[in-house]
């Protein structure tokens, strides 16, 4: 505006060429500065990841399951999560078929388990009565309460075949950890990898077996 005669010179007396140069230098300085800040952020972000000590604490655990009575349930800790070991009775096993119609994912299609546990009892064919399962609700990670008795239950309903009830948000699971329809959780409780050596079960390791 100030000087109409000299079109390629601005108010500061800088040529268009110089203006472009200044803009380029400003841009490239800011750009490299931003890259530097970005790189500097990485180590700080990384410090928040699980440490080596935390990773080591996630090692497999072993348990002698011959100590579990029929119909009895124990919890062992693996990676800080409760793992349920339940030796189911024959009535309990029969109940798994009875309630299939009220389950959201009866065939465990969209649920997490090793292939050897993707079946009606959600357990290894070698020991179908032994349920091995992370006792962690798939809704928001609470620990569901066991309702092992077959028969009417205030939370599980009048025709309960036994199961697990999550006290946090009311999700219901059967005695294979399969989730009922129309509750907050939508997938069955996860089955961790496990393997047997005699009467000892190792949780967290299955040597990559598929059956």
């Amino acid at each position: 505006m100030a000087d109409n005669n000299v079109s390629d010179v601005n108010a500061d007396g800088m040529s268009v060429e110089d203006q472009k140069r200044r803009r380029f230098l400003t841009g490239i300085t800011a750009g490299f500065g931003a890259v530097g800040v970005g790189v500097a952020v990485v180590p700080f972000v990384m410090t928040m990841s699980p440490s080596e000590r935390a990773k080591n604490a996630g090692a497999p655990v072993q348990y002698d399951f011959s100590r579990i009575q029929e119909g009895q349930m124990v919890k062992v800790e693996w990676r800080g999560k409760p793992v349920v070991l339940l030796k189911r009775t024959s009535e309990m096993m029969a109940g798994l078929d009875a309630i299939k119609g009220s389950l959201a994912d009866p065939d465990s299609v969209s649920s997490a388990q090793p292939s050897y546990a993707q079946n009606n009892q959600r357990a290894d064919f070698g020991k179908p009565e032994l349920l091995v399962m992370e006792g962690v609700c798939t809704h928001l990670g609470c620990s569901p309460v066991e309702k092992l008795a077959i028969g009417p239950d205030p939370q599980m309903g009048d025709d309960s075949q036994g199961g697990f009830f999550c006290p946090c948000h009311g999700s219901k699971f059967d005695l294979a950890g399969r989730v009922y329809k129309n509750v907050p959780a939508t997938t069955n409780m996860a089955v961790p990898p496990y393997k047997f050596e005699g009467s000892v079960i190792t949780i967290g390791e299955d040597d990559g077996r598929t059956a």
Partner: protein
């Protein structure tokens, strides 16, 4: 070239003149206190801004003394809180002031926000004041959530477990993100330690900075008043509003009365009813954290329960109801809405996406989306509200009815969130969730219908 910005502000004496040449002390004092004009008809609802600042100061002050004795270590944390309660002289008082203070802070903030809604303080030109305030609200929720883990009680532990699992539903990165936030495969010592860092350093700094911005934005546009009219429409010869009084000393003195009344309530709870019957200090938190034992009822503290209810209400039947509602909206769009064809097609496309999401998405993912949306709705208020008048005193009947419905739904959701879910309660929570969102979704409609009363030209005020 010296710029004498302080020209308009006369320094009180030689010392202040020396200071003012180097630092705008008198200028800031005058602009923001002695000559900041606020309406003289401020009422009860206008106490809560000052009280929020008071609570921020109380929380920072008590927090500093708590950190002198607290140990952010999963092995020691619970015991160190008990140590503060039993062995530290007056430790019980400082800890109760802090723990009850968090609840009182939320009481004050909720009333402060409600004031904004009923008097239209979120409307033009105060949209940024409101938006910054909403960010403060979110930051305060994060601060409270992280602080709640620190006593390492069983409810602390499982509450954090539930809320952190919310991030799991984010597609692809969710589980990795959760692990990064926890710093472990489960909530552990690493989680406690970092929450301590966020709670005592990061979030307080953010909160103080945001409160500063909130006040800067407020003082740029001036305070609203219960009549929702601009006091600068009537000014005297000096340009001072006829209905305004200086913030200092008039409003400050008035607020001190509010502070006194508030302290009676706050300290009354601290001294005589510190657990609030299990609402302010939850019973399960008197036992140390146990990763293998979920408390029978996981309930967050009361100030989160409305949103928690919305989270829990999201089951298959709610999603089915939302599918029907989406369908009805599309139908209305094509039959009745007076908008262009392109807008209709665009909204229909959006509705189809939402519908598909409702059909194929899980109740869990939608619970998280709805809970987040419940908070995001507050941010949108300045643009959803189309009423020609600001204050509820002159608003039309439909607005008052809608607000009453919203309040009832909000309180019921809050109550339900404190209780174990049953089929009947879940249904009630689902109905209230629909009412909650309908309040925001229908606001452009119900604020633009009905007859508003004429606004006065001067504020309604009677000298005492």
């Amino acid at each position: 070239m010296a710029i004498h910005r302080h020209d308009n502000h006369k320094s009180a004496n030689a010392l202040m003149e020396w200071v003012d040449k180097r630092f705008p002390a008198t200028k800031v004092w005058n602009e923001h206190l002695a000559e900041y004009m606020a309406a003289k008809n401020f009422n009860f609802w206008y106490f809560f801004g000052s009280l929020a600042i008071l609570m921020l100061v109380v929380q920072i002050a008590t927090g500093i003394f708590l950190t002198m004795h607290y140990k952010p270590d999963a092995e020691l944390a619970f015991a160190s809180v008990e140590y503060i309660m039993r062995d530290v002289p007056f430790g019980w008082l400082v800890r109760y002031l802090h723990a009850i203070g968090a609840s009182m802070f939320f009481v004050v903030i909720y009333l402060h926000m409600f004031r904004g809604v009923i008097y239209g303080s979120h409307r033009e030109p105060r949209e940024l004041v409101w938006l910054i305030g909403c960010v403060i609200f979110v930051a305060l929720m994060a601060e409270a959530f992280m602080g709640y883990l620190l006593p390492w009680g069983n409810m602390s532990y499982w509450g954090a477990q539930v809320i952190l699992s919310l991030f799991d539903v984010i597609p692809f990165v969710g589980p990795a993100l959760t692990e990064w936030i926890r710093g472990d495969f489960v909530i552990s010592d690493a989680t406690l330690n970092r929450f301590f860092a966020f709670h005592v350093i990061l979030l307080p700094l953010i909160l103080v900075a945001l409160v500063f911005l909130h006040l800067v934005a407020l003082h740029q546009v001036g305070s609203n008043n219960p009549d929702g009219i601009d006091i600068y429409d009537n000014v005297d010869d000096d340009g001072k509003p006829l209905d305004g009084v200086a913030f200092f000393p008039y409003i400050v003195i008035k607020d001190l009365i509010g502070v006194a009344a508030f302290l009676i309530v706050y300290l009354g709870v601290v001294f005589f009813w510190p657990d609030g019957g299990g609402v302010l200090l939850e019973k399960d938190n008197f036992a140390p954290a146990n990763p293998l034992q979920t408390p029978p009822d996981i309930v967050p503290l009361w100030y989160f329960t409305p949103y928690y209810s919305i989270l829990r209400a999201s089951t298959t039947s709610l999603l089915f109801a939302l599918q029907i509602i989406t369908g009805v909206i599309v139908l209305w769009l094509w039959l009745r809405a007076k908008i262009s064809l392109i807008a209709k097609v665009a909204f229909t496309g959006l509705a189809v996406c939402v519908f598909a999401g409702l059909v194929f998405g899980s109740g869990k993912a939608w619970g998280v989306i709805l809970m987040a949306a419940a908070i995001v709705c507050f941010f949108l208020l300045p643009w959803l509200d189309r009423s020609p008048v600001l204050s509820v005193r002159y608003r039309s009947l439909p607005f008052k009815i809608a607000l009453a419905f919203f309040l009832v739904a909000f309180f019921i959701l809050g109550y339900l969130g404190m209780n174990a879910p049953t089929p009947g309660k879940t249904l009630l929570a689902q109905i209230c969730t629909v009412v909650y969102f309908a309040f925001f979704a229908l606001m452009p409609w119900f604020t633009s219908i009905g007859k508003t009363k004429p606004e006065p030209t001067r504020v309604t005020y009677e000298a005492h």
